[in-house]
């Protein structure tokens, strides 16, 4: 069983992000491995949104993916936000819960973005405390996702993979490996994604994200922005094949958040992820088809 997933619930078949524009299209219950919902979108006291989530969860495995907690912020965590997340998790009992390694607010102002952190012992200690608090509040282990970023900090003393590895060891949390983030970072910061993939603790990886990005030219350099607004790039598919060979299959999700296409297009991307996985399985000597490492 991959890290973070409830017993025997991890789907082999790829899933897609649940977005408001597709709510009606899910009525037909198209074939799909699983669904991931942004937790905050379903922060409601009642009404059609939690009802929809409940109904979809009867037919698909569900992941709740938090985007607003800001685990790495220096100011105290928003207890009300945490309580709402806990209530949502309690009500829906999703198969897996995840959040981001970021910060989002200062002096009472929230920036509603996934802001980057320096990789230092100080950040590590803060994140460990926060992840402990999150896991004890929810009563379960969570996955944490590393960010795509446009700035890095001269203060960083650890490399990111080492940082993530320490985090999982100290808290028992799992990792959500976002291969688009990895590709975006490798271009933006001149890193070697292969070294990153090999340095990660494979057993801690509980989920893989695939998404599209946007290329911009800024002051004469190429920068990739993690827009989730297009199809998965070929470079990211290549990283997916590498990850499948290195760590084995993991529950995989297609994310698309801006210029969202029809559900059909999203499901076609998920089908490609399934094809890529099957092809790697058949071409890898000694691979045990359809096995998920624990």
């Amino acid at each position: 069983m991959p890290k973070g997933w409830q017993a025997d619930s991890a789907p082999l078949r790829a899933g897609v992000g649940l977005r408001g524009v597709h709510h009606a299209e899910w009525d037909a219950r198209p074939a799909c491995g699983w669904l991931e919902a942004h937790a905050e979108n379903y922060f409601a006291d009642g009404g059609p949104l939690p009802a929809l989530l409940e109904s979809l969860h009867r037919d698909y495995p569900l992941s709740l993916h938090g985007v607003g907690l800001g685990l790495g912020g220096c100011e105290p965590l928003d207890r009300d936000h945490l309580a709402r997340l806990a209530a949502l998790v309690h009500r829906h009992q999703p198969e897996v819960v995840s959040e981001h390694l970021c910060w989002g607010q200062a002096e009472g102002v929230h920036f509603n973005d996934l802001l980057p952190l320096p990789f230092t012992e100080e950040t590590l200690a803060l994140l460990c405390d926060r992840i402990d608090l999150l896991q004890s509040t929810l009563g379960r282990s969570v996955l944490v996702e590393h960010l795509a970023s446009y700035l890095s900090f001269p203060e960083s003393t650890l490399d990111e993979a080492q940082f993530l590895s320490e985090l999982t060891q100290r808290t028992g949390c799992g990792l959500l490996l976002d291969l688009n983030n990895l590709h975006v970072n490798s271009v933006n910061h001149g890193l070697d994604p292969q070294i990153f993939l090999r340095a990660l603790p494979a057993a801690a990886i509980g989920e893989i994200h695939l998404a599209g990005h946007t290329l911009v030219h800024l002051d004469g350099e190429t920068v990739l922005i993690d827009t989730h607004g297009s199809a998965v790039d070929e470079a990211v598919w290549a990283l997916y094949r590498d990850a499948l060979r290195l760590i084995g299959p993991r529950p995989t999700l297609i994310e698309w958040d801006t210029d969202i296409p029809s559900l059909e297009v999203l499901l076609a991307e998920a089908a490609r992820a399934d094809d890529e996985r099957v092809r790697v399985e058949w071409s890898t000597p000694g691979s045990t088809v359809a096995q998920i490492d624990s």
Partner: protein, 251 residues
């Protein structure tokens, strides 16, 4: 000199909050903050956004962000004070956009109604369980989604038209409208109320008993030298027909 994590976040926050874009890669974060905020606001206020157009809405969103920045990680709340902001910005009655604040109130009520707690509506037969002598003392609990808006402009007509593909022109001289927004069977709806119905609903929502609500209504009619009488039976029937009542008691 090495900055602490708190220093780093304070510097970063100052960069994000500055009016001037920092340029370079930091500008991506500076832009993202403003774009995320604008998109969330436009999701809550689609009709307002459509009426004023993308460029003007972007400007409104920037000014609003400056005065009322987001306070939490749940984007549902970014629009909390938008109607208030618009009311201050377009307060002059001569302003061509004077109705925007009331329209925004309607849209906010709509957004809130989508998320509020569930409650089962009561059928009008529930009234029959009370002796007629007890009726003046009846108090009503309204559905948590019920929001009442009274505007000097035809805001529901404007709202309805701009949810169509081809909105018809609405004359601002068409007169004011009273509106109730509520959620029925998981769908949010907006309905026109007469001024008297509106007053009754407001009184009942405030916890007044039927007698108190009626007294206030009749006093108001007298003060305004209005003629005619209030059709209480019809008004109560409508209240129940719209699934607005979830409990009745004589406490």
């Amino acid at each position: 000199m090495t900055r602490s994590l708190a220093d780093i976040q304070r510097d970063f926050a100052a960069m994000l909050r500055a009016d001037q874009s920092p340029g370079g890669r930091a500008a991506i974060y500076h832009n993202n903050r403003r774009a995320n905020f604008r998109k969330a606001l436009a999701l809550t206020y689609p009709v307002t956004a459509r009426i004023v157009g993308d460029d003007f809405f972007a400007r409104l969103s920037l000014d609003y962000l400056e005065q009322h920045p987001s306070r939490g990680g749940d984007l549902h709340h970014v629009g909390t004070r938008f109607a208030e902001f618009l009311a201050t910005g377009f307060a002059a009655p001569s302003s061509a956009f004077g109705y925007l604040a009331d329209l925004a109130k309607l849209e906010w009520a709509w957004a809130e109604a989508l998320l509020c707690a569930d409650a089962s509506p009561l059928s009008i037969e529930a009234l029959a369980t009370f002796e007629p002598t007890a009726w003046p003392r009846l108090r009503f609990t309204l559905h948590p989604s019920v929001a009442l808006i009274r505007s000097p402009w035809p805001i529901l007509t404007i709202f309805d038209e701009h949810r169509r593909e081809q909105p018809a022109v609405v004359s601002l001289d068409a007169g004011g409208e009273c509106v109730v927004v509520l959620r029925r069977a998981q769908c949010v709806e907006a309905h026109r109320l007469t001024a008297q119905e509106h007053q009754l609903w407001v009184a009942l929502a405030a916890g007044q008993c039927l007698q108190e609500a009626l007294d206030a209504l009749l006093r108001h009619l007298e003060e305004n030298h209005a003629v005619g009488e209030f059709a209480l039976r019809e008004a109560l029937a409508r209240l129940f027909m719209l699934d607005a009542v979830t409990a009745v008691n004589t406490a």
